[in-house]
Amino acid sequence: MKRLLMTSTVFVVVLALCVGAVSAQSDIRRGGTVRIAGQWGTLTNNFNPFLASGQNAPGTRSALYETLFFVSVLTGETTPVLGVSYEWKDNLTLIVQTREGVKWSDGTDFTAHDVAFTFNYMKQHPALDLSGIWANGMESVAALDDHTVEFKFARPNTPLFQYIAHTLIVPKHIWESVEDPAAFTNPEPVVTGPFVLGRFTPEAVTYVRNENYWIAGQPYVDQVVYRATRSNDSALLLLLRKEIDYSYLSIPDPERTFVERDPEHNRYWWPVTNTNILYLNMSKAPFDDAAFRQAMGWAINKEALSEKAYYGVVPPSHPTGIIPGQQAAWVDPSLADITYSYNPDQAREVLREAGYSWDGSGALLYPSGEKLPTIRILVGAGWTDFISMAQLISEDMKAIGVTMVIEQEPWNSYINSLMGGTYDTAICWGTGSGSTPYDLYYRTLASEFAGLGGGQAESNYSRFSSEVVDQALATFRASSDPEEQWQAIAAIQREVVTKVPYIPLTDRTHFNCYQTATLAGWPTADNPYNGGEPGDEIGARLMLLNLHLK
């Protein structure tokens, strides 16, 4: 009798726990479709994860394939995906533990050998290595056993971790027989991700839930549909009529044009991940003079730029270019008084001290007495926000005696002028962004990208070169000691605010817009779990996993 009582008690308790667990999960309704629209034009029937996004179908990077980890640019946090933990040994060896219990969508087990294969495949076919991992110091990758991968480096480069973490992993048993991976369209993708391919049409691609996904019970939704539009306006109209749930839209004045249409459901989340920068071509006069560049920094009213070009939604930049989410951790407090906040008098003072003067009509003269030429400010044709900023900047500069004229060029000429160094000044974005300021500084300030000697400047458009900066970048790379890295960034910041190779104007955001009528679980500023990434990027995987019917 006692035994029966005991057994039945245990049985009831276990049953209660099970019911409790089930009902906790059953609080979330299953089913539904996430509908995403984007200005992709005609979709391309290509699911090759090695290609640059835009050359493969949207969803390849977010719904199908997975990475080792996800590093959020906003918070710096690392979320484990196919990798569960990592460890640096003496900055030259990285050990990653891979997840157990993951299966590819064709039933094969996922192991560390797939990871090792993916990286060695990129070494074998350099056209696939778009993050430049092998070109940046990695020496070898090997699977030590079924769940451990060892990355070895010839020279230390700890920031490379972000690119290793964000490499999409492919199955060895499928790809080892592919001869020309750059030309392979991967029509039947074998994946580990939360969704598998459903149906492709040139206008929309549908993904359906992966029944064998390694997170039990997720994804909550049944399908994800990515549909193509050919303009932002089309996508906005679809969103307003609730025919789609999410789109990546840079709409002017989102409060009025979007939220006010349906304040209960329409939301936008524009987290700052980068900076809009006024690049100064330091290989040309007067931009070869640090005093002139500093004066420009004081003369430009960045608050006004934020107000006029972005309706106040996107704030002005910090003079170091470091984004707000990273300022607390990285900004050197000793530089706090170099604010470059709008002060035309200060600008004139700096110029006067450097020997500049003004003639009778107020035009600025070089110390040699020559008049300054008309300076061009380059923007992309039709980019209304950049054009507004350029107009305000030229007005600000007129006030200190410099004449500027706006030059709009179509996309390819614009890039050509930037990389070729034929522009005077140009408004562009930061050519690097990541979870620390290193990425921005490396891309925009390292000598190797400055096109020195008359070559192409891949990303250091200002063509700035400094021993101090190169040295600090190398120190940061070679270290995993937070204090040492902080000192390195502080040294670079000092160069940025004193030498002013470029002028950060306003912050730059991602443009997530969505409506909450059908689905819940969206990332927000209070819960930035996906790093604010667009709906077809690797961070969106977390969003697709979290969304569920209301």
Partner: protein
């Protein structure tokens, strides 16, 4: 016969010139596609990717321009139009095959409808001039002709698709339907109504006015007066005597329009998110996608030349005097 041979010779010569220019012009544009692609990612790609992309796109060639020109001709004759850079690694022919039917369907039928309706209305307007309706068509035509196309299409989209919800907001067909073959037709027509009507409305006016003016000047010719004197029925004079001669100048314009149909209608495609060649061409130009750009320009040139050639032949049929000219 001589006329035919002359026309063929002219066609071949202009074809050669057009194709050569088609080869040279994209190469004169500044920049290179690998650069453009690298910059497009706004820092998400490593600067070292420039080398990877250059290799993937096959741009690291040091062949002289002349050698490339000869290879270009060889490829055209073998039907190999190359691999698109924007849609890498899809072949150019595959990219075009997807979009050309949409453009021919939409813009082609819009052009034919606009021409036919415009010309018939022009005949009516000229024949019955003096009556309120016929004369009222003139300012109406001028008005519709002058409306900026993008404004009209945005208004139509906003009113009928967004506010009233009677027509779809975007796309060429219903993306959620699993119908195949002819069952897709109702959805396709439903999606085509708005774009088609905006193109027809703005294009109609031009044809109407041209035809009306031609008719009026033809009606004052001697042979029309003679036809009346002979006692021929009105209908016969209107169509077989007057309209047949009045339509000749319009025909030339019509053939040019038909040729340009294949260039797509970028504004229509952008506003209505309609599939077609226009947007593909725009993407190709801004990404410096040489193979795709050249292929599309090639087709546009050929289409215009061939359309012109056939118009010359039709012209000769309608107006026999043309054949003997120059003899």
């Amino acid at each position: 016969m001589r006329y035919l041979l002359r026309r063929i010779g002219f066609l071949l010569f202009t074809g050669w010139a057009a194709l050569s220019i088609n080869f040279i012009v994209p190469h004169l544009m500044p920049g290179n596609p690998a650069q453009v692609m690298l910059a497009k990612f706004q820092g998400r790609l490593s600067p070292q990717a420039l080398a990877a992309l250059t290799e993937a796109f096959g741009l690291n060639t040091d062949k002289s321009l002349f050698v490339q020109y000869l290879e270009y001709w060889k490829r055209i004759f073998s039907g190999d139009l190359g691999v698109s850079l924007t849609y890498y690694p899809s072949k150019v022919t595959a990219v075009l095959a997807q979009s050309v039917p949409w453009t021919l369907g939409l813009v082609g039928s819009a052009t034919v409808i606009a021409f036919t309706v415009g010309t018939l209305l022009g005949i009516f307007s000229a024949w019955r001039r003096g009556s309120l309706l016929a004369d009222g068509l003139v300012p109406a035509a001028l008005f519709f002709n002058s409306i900026p196309y993008f404004w009209l299409s945005l208004m139509v989209l906003y009113l009928f698709a967004y506010s009233l919800g009677r027509f779809p907001l975007a796309g060429g067909y219903d993306i959620y339907s699993t119908a195949t073959g002819l069952a897709k037709l109702p959805s396709i027509i439903h999606h085509a109504v708005l774009p088609l009507s905006t193109i027809v409305i703005t294009a109609l006016g031009g044809w109407l006015l041209t035809m009306r003016n031609n008719m009026i000047s033809v009606c004052s010719d001697d042979y029309v007066a003679f036809a009346y004197a002979k006692g021929l029925p009105d209908r016969e004079i209107k169509y077989r005597y007057a309209a047949r001669n009045a339509v000749l100048p319009s025909l030339t314009g019509f053939s040019m329009s038909l040729g340009f149909v294949i260039g797509g209608s970028l504004l229509t495609e952008v506003v209505f998110s309609y599939p077609g060649i226009g947007y593909i061409l725009y993407q190709a130009v801004t990404s410096l996608d040489y193979p795709l750009m050249q292929a599309i320009f090639l087709f546009i040139s050929l289409a215009v030349l061939v359309a012109n050639f056939f118009t010359d032949l039709v012209y000769a049929l309608l107006d026999p005097r043309v054949k003997d000219e120059g003899d």
